[in-house]
């Protein structure tokens, strides 16, 4: 059995959620690695969209370090700017989007703006939305990658940067004027979550090998839906790990980092 680290597990899990022949709006790091792994395996016809302007590129210069990196541009079909990338998304050309953040609540609302309850003088000022808020609004399906920790999976986020299902009411997103269908999956190295169709609240779908579904409730600060049947997360195979380590991220910039505690 191949050994793998937490980042490799997240990257692999992200890749197997993606369907072929779709446009993936990718961020730097794990989202891009997931999309590239999918291209190398089950979904060769996935097309990449980068927010600084590159669309349908063939990455030939190595792994981009930024979504505006020169490396995102090689052999692109279309290369404009932020307006074009986000307008393609608004128009319905982006099937998947990956976002991250510091906190998430049970309805998939994500905070990447401030820690603390005072917007004007926050305890920690995070980067801000960047593209995430726009992606969460208008990519059709949103995949959220997070570290599974109680302080991050919280009852109430300090700030909603990226819209999820709001308060869980069925028309929340429509009343917000956004277009995408909302959070699709939340990926962590220990579990995958989805959202209950009716209540829009977070539901355990899969756990990592060796972990018990019931233990997952303790890792979040809200009531988690734990169905009777919970699958075991697929592990990356030897071939996947080889692609991740030797082809996609050979210098280990993103995959060898340790999970922050």
């Amino acid at each position: 059995m191949a050994e793998y680290n937490a980042y490799e597990m997240i990257a692999y899990t992200g890749s197997r959620l993606l369907e072929d022949k779709k446009v993936v709006f990718v961020g730097t790091g794990l989202p891009l690695i997931s999309a590239m792994l999918a291209q190398h395996t089950h979904a060769p016809n996935i097309v990449l969209l980068f927010e600084a302007g590159a669309f349908a590129s063939v990455l030939e210069l190595g792994l981009p370090m930024s979504v505006g990196d020169t490396r995102t541009c090689t052999k692109a079909c279309y290369l404009k700017g932020l307006c074009s990338s986000f307008e393609l998304t608004q128009r319905g050309y982006a099937d998947y989007g990956f976002i991250g953040g510091a906190q998430i609540d049970m309805y998939g609302n994500v905070n990447a703006t401030v820690c603390g309850d005072d917007y004007n003088k926050p305890e920690v000022r995070f980067p801000g939305s960047g593209g995430a808020g726009a992606m969460a609004a208008n990519c059709e399906k949103i995949i959220i990658t997070m570290v599974l920790e109680k302080r991050r999976f919280c009852r109430q986020v300090d700030f909603v940067t990226s819209i999820g299902y709001g308060d869980g009411s069925p028309d929340y997103r429509e009343k917000s004027g956004v277009m995408g269908s909302g959070p699709y999956r939340v990926i962590t190295n220990q579990a995958i979550f989805g959202f209950d169709n009716k209540t829009k609240s977070m539901m355990l779908l899969e756990v990592a090998p060796g972990l018990k579904p019931d233990d997952m409730q303790d890792k979040v600060d809200f009531e988690l839906i734990i169905p009777q049947k919970v699958k075991v997360m697929e592990k990356p195979g030897v071939e996947d790990l080889k692609l991740l380590r030797e082809v996609i991220d050979p210098t280990g910039v993103f995959l060898e980092r340790q999970v922050e505690e």
Binding site: G68, L79, G81, L82, T113, G130, V157, S169, S176, G177
Partner: protein, 352 residues
């Protein structure tokens, strides 16, 4: 307009914030148009030095737009000159920035009598996967700057509205997030569909700061790689300073008019400045110069953690204040790092 239209966002998060009355953070659309009409529009040679461009165009109280995106084609050379000359009560506007914005924030930390920034309209300040921007954090967490948060598309659309000469653009984001509550956008009922629709106000910076690959003597610019929102920023701003890696004769520029992304009429000063985006990347010229960027970030973070300003001050003294020009700064950098950054671009094709 129904002022009370809102998504059901209230009370989802813990956030508390000061309500603010709407005001333009720079020229209003009407003022911006008036200024444009008052300017001569003939094709004239606008080549100058950064020193002169900044002396003539940058004034206290202005809204300055930073071009590029995070560390892509960022106007570092212009920012150096602004820090050298000083400017107070500034508003900064951009979508995503990193090194160039943090340089300005750091200048304020060191000497608020030289550089002061009162507010920032923005989507993002950080170093992507490398980490947060320490000087921005320091000012924000101490309540020393007022921030107005949008998404990257929100800011892009705001510049675009400015460039289009319209007061706002409807967008399909911000609604249902706390940005709807804290920023200056507004939710309305669409008069056609009857559905909630978010509007972001136009952004007209006083001065747009742009670093381009190619410009001609009149200010026409070609941009390669991601355009970021530089065409929109240049057209929205009442004045624009362009630094360019290369200046080509206008006759050459006119051979491919489709390649002109910024028309001369939106540009007021053109400065030939190679490496003007260092340590960020400029497609076709150089890639990130990570060593320098990391060095600055570490110095900034050390200040944020310890409160000690000496190393930060040393950095500004060595790389900005003791330099007469941006070329002096480039001259002080290890030449092997500069060459490496150029090699890492891989010779991307640009058209001269």
């Amino acid at each position: 307009m129904e002022a009370e239209t809102c998504s059901p966002i209230k009370n989802i998060s813990r956030i508390k914030y000061k309500e603010r009355e709407f005001e333009w953070w720079g020229p209003s659309p009407d003022e911006a148009r008036k200024i444009q009409l008052s300017k001569p529009k003939e094709l004239r040679d606008k080549r100058t030095t950064l020193k002169e461009a900044v002396t003539n165009l940058i004034k206290d109280g202005q809204n300055l737009a930073l071009g590029g995106f995070v560390n892509i084609r960022i106007p570092v050379a212009i920012v150096h000159e602004i820090i050298r000359q000083g400017a107070k009560d500034l508003t900064l506007s951009f979508q995503s920035q990193s090194f160039a914005a943090d340089l300005l924030f750091g200048a304020m930390v060191l000497d608020p009598d030289r550089i002061s920034i009162k507010r920032v309209e923005m989507a993002y300040v950080a170093y992507e996967n490398v980490g947060l921007a320490s000087l921005f954090r320091y000012l924000a967490e101490n309540g020393m700057i007022e921030i107005d948060d949008y998404t990257n598309y929100g800011m892009a659309a705001r510049f675009k509205a400015g460039a289009m000469g319209i007061p706002f653009l409807p967008v399909r984001d911000h609604g249902g997030s706390d940005m709807e509550l804290v920023n200056r956008g507004k939710m309305i009922k669409c008069p056609f569909s009857g559905k909630n629709t978010y509007l972001v106000p136009a952004c007209h910076p006083d001065v747009g700061l742009i670093h381009a690959q190619v410009a001609d003597e009149y200010g026409n610019c070609r941009l390669f790689g991601p355009l970021c929102t530089d065409p929109e920023i240049a057209l929205a701003s009442t004045y624009t300073i362009v630094t360019a890696e290369k200046i080509i004769p206008s006759a050459d520029m006119r051979r491919y008019p489709n390649l002109t992304e910024i028309p001369y009429v939106a540009v007021d000063a053109v400065v030939n400045q190679s490496y003007g985006g260092h340590p960020g990347l400029v497609y076709g010229s150089y890639w990130f110069e990570e060593k320098h960027r990391t060095m600055f970030r570490n110095i900034a973070e050390e200040f944020r953690v310890t409160g000690k300003k000496d190393k930060l001050k040393e950095y500004y003294d060595k790389y900005i204040f003791s330099c007469e020009t941006f070329d002096d700064y480039i001259g002080k950098l290890p030449q092997q790092d500069i060459r490496k950054a150029a090699d890492l671009d891989g010779g991307q094709p640009i058209i001269l």
